[in-house]
Symmetry: C2
DNA sequence: TTGACATATTGACAATTATCGATACAATCA
DNA sequence: TGATTGTATCGATAATTGTCAATATGTCAA
């Protein structure tokens, strides 16, 4: 349940996607909820496309309910990926970084 | 001396760039050193292009010496950006994350 | 000054990807 | 059943970006 650091970065490397992520933080939203919160600037198929990207990076949790699909940010995965980046690219600082016990910073795969 | 999270993610969102970053970790290398370590798969202009991207994201430190330019990873910046991502997108876990004192996780600018 | 070397820049091209409209699919409701 | 609603998928297009060859720029040495 781990992920390639490049795939992680690519998932974050878009303005619209980071805006969607802000809206999905600590909240479960349906696809249309997200479309609404974006103020109609982005169409539903595009939002679906972005959610798929986030799902592929395991950055969202998904719950199907009837004909609705609810999404929320996967905070564990985001924290783990950041931890992994620090371990890979900031090894001098990594020993001073403390993450929650249940966050695995090494590739588990 | 802070940076937009999207620009940070974009800087990391490429295989070649992350490979370059690995080589620049804890070591000062000239542009040609980097080209060499990539095994000749990537040409010098392309490497220069990637280094520029990393420099724009403040992810490398640069030292000019004669006709050589030496680069190394900016571990502080990388750690700070990761901290900022966690604060933005994993607020429930962020309180349990401890970073070195000199790392600023809030946008200073 | 001339030549050699290290790096950056430019222009072109190919690959990736964000976006949209149209449509398909699935679940609910009348 | 048929109509409606929520979401995903498809095909097309435009924008972004990674890559290269060629060249420019800047620095050092003879």
């Amino acid at each position: 349940m781990s992920i390639d650091p490049v795939l992680f970065a690519k998932a974050l490397a878009d303005d619209t996607r980071q805006e969607i992520m802000k809206h999905l933080c600590c909240v479960w939203l349906s696809v249309n909820d997200v479309v609404e919160r974006l103020g109609g600037r982005i169409n539903q198929p595009t939002v679906s496309h972005h959610l798929k990207k986030l799902e592929e990076a395991n950055l969202v949790l998904v719950r199907q309910e009837g004909r609705n699909r609810f999404y929320t940010l996967n905070q564990q995965q985001l924290t783990a990926c950041c931890g992994r980046l620090i371990h890979a690219f900031a090894p001098d600082l990594a020993p001073k970084v403390i993450l929650p016990d249940d966050i695995e910073t090494r590739r588990s795969e």
